[in-house]
Symmetry: C2
């Protein structure tokens, strides 16, 4: 490497613009309290000299903020109780930090706040956005597209109908579900139930489809009473399992749409004196730790590498920003494989 080239100083900019050092500093830090003609003169001097003292000035010249927004389309309360989000954020945070980009997490109380999130994104505060946990009728993707902010989605977006060019990272939800149900079939189970996630999310819809595929293939057709809709939470899993035991007391296996749901189901099975896996085998999805290891008994589940998905989303976005757009012919979606992790419940 050669020696660092000497850079123009703040003083040089001040002299060029014919203003004080303090004025340059104020303009470079946002321009508060400086009259517009002076702001203009300083900006011109900054550009002419190629002055790059710090982030603020750099973004003045390059329009880059070295900041990326993360939007999780769930209420703030769920983000802090579902370990899935912490894991995904961990992958994103590590990758952004390695590239000296700031992670800007935009929290909301619910969908009513999504228009405000879109306004913030449109306001020129970040270079791009990572968006996940989208629900089907959420206006957010349209709002983000309108704002013109480069975006990578976590999970295949489901709003469809459009050009299908949205970039995303997902795991093989359907294939993972098929593996889980085939494993239960291989154990000799015949009354295999499915507790779904929220079906307005593609991850939940794809897992249901995987379940139905294998059940159709093996059983000819599946008993619709064996499918109960739920919401990816432990309490939802409890309610669904209670309903299942009422409807189909002969149930001998449960494929739960995620680990938290399986956790709730295990609790209810224990309360009803059903032995796991002897009476009812249970499989989850995600392999979020420590949840999956600490259930009683430890949970057999479909593993997706959540942290890696976060890292990959981030790398895709940053490479898009660097090149000014996705490479021609680049695939819109990246789908990672899943693995069945056998512990004690199936």
């Amino acid at each position: 490497m050669s020696e660092a080239v000497s850079r123009p100083t703040l003083e040089a900019v001040a002299a060029r613009a014919g203003v004080s050092r303090a004025t340059v500093s104020r303009v470079v830090n946002g321009g508060d309290g400086v009259r517009e003609p002076l702001v203009e003169r300083v900006r011109r001097a900054v550009e002419e000299l190629g002055y790059v003292p710090n982030q603020a000035a750099r973004s003045l010249v390059t329009r880059r903020h070295d900041a990326v927004a993360v939007v999780i389309a769930e209420p703030e309360t769920r983000i802090f109780t579902d370990p899935f989000f912490a894991l995904q954020l961990r992958g994103i945070s590590k990758e952004l930090t390695a590239q000296d980009n700031q992670l800007v997490l935009l929290l909301t109380e619910g969908r009513d706040d999504h228009a405000r999130v879109a306004r913030y994104l449109a306001g020129g505060h970040v270079d791009g956005a990572l968006v996940f946990s989208l629900h089907l009728d959420d206006p957010l993707p349209g709002l983000i597209e309108g704002a013109g902010v480069p975006t990578v989605f976590g999970g295949r977006p489901g709003w469809g109908g459009g050009s299908n060019t949205a970039r995303y990272v997902d795991c093989d939800n359907r294939g993972g579900a098929e593996d889980a149900v085939r494993h239960l079939v291989g154990l000799g189970r015949t009354r295999i139930a499915h507790i779904t996630g929220p079906l307005d999310q593609t991850s939940a819809a794809d897992r249901l489809q995987g379940y139905l595929d294998v059940m159709g293939e093996v059983m000819g057709e599946s008993d619709p009473r064996l499918v109960v809709a739920s919401d990816f939470t432990p309490s939802g899993g409890e309610r669904a399992m209670g309903e299942l035991l009422d409807r189909c007391p002969d149930v001998d296996a449960v494929f739960a749409a995620n680990d938290l749901t399986a956790l709730g189901a295990l609790r209810v099975l224990r309360e009803h004196g059903r032995r796991v896996p002897e009476d009812v085998a249970v499989i989850g999805f995600d392999d979020v730790l420590p949840v999956a290891e600490q259930t009683e008994p430890p949970l057999t589940t479909v593993r997706q590498d959540i942290e890696e998905m976060g890292r990959l989303m981030t790398r895709l976005l940053l490479s898009t920003l660097t090149r000014g757009g996705p490479a021609a012919g680049a695939p819109a979606g990246v789908v990672l494989p899943t693995t069945l992790v056998r512990r004690a419940t199936a």
Copy 2:
């Protein structure tokens, strides 16, 4: 209320500036790809007509972003494992949403990233900042002050030496600790230990001071072997409790600096066959739920209203922003009282 006054349209701005509708829209949404002289003309037309179509244009005119940054001076991993932060964020999120302000959470991997956080704050992306979990030698407060961003701190800032005008919300850490230790003394305990938090945080230092005050008052002087330094985490509490049992096998009470530390201490006491509270009484601090209710036995602890502290920090900051500065003579700090919550451990 009277009828809504008709507002100038995008078209009117375009006509006034002599540019296309699309150009106005692009300028209003950040100005990407529009030459500077055109940007200038559009801005002037926007100001002259008082055109306020949305957030982006409003911030162009008022320099307000309706966004507040939250900075927690801890690695991202701790934020998602210590329920304290989730509670504080809940209070902040509710209050900001009620005022239609966007919560912008700036995550970091550690202190090395604080300079980047300060650059983001200085870059004009938020109206103010809420900053908590500061450690003594953290450069962040100085960097934030330099950036000129209105700030309210969670917890009394400890860097001192300066003008002491930093605004903050805290709980009565010292008084709460005194209550806890007096309660243990009232139970007839004489070998009362303290497991501290990180002593470069004022909350931990104040709780230690409260312990020392009462011990000095009651015992004349305290046995320094009864104080073990720790870090507010369950595993830190485990290590500290193990050390305490080695050093002072006759310990008959423990005041832990927070609930997570108490959780770790309870585990180690159980492993060593010490009955709680018969052999060793335990008191925590915070009353974070469900932790404090779900320990075995349920934890006696010093309650601070964490969610309310978050709300109060937010209200203080927003009122400062509205008025353009704190009211003359306004106290720098607001200190909330604590309550001893008796459950089963003391």
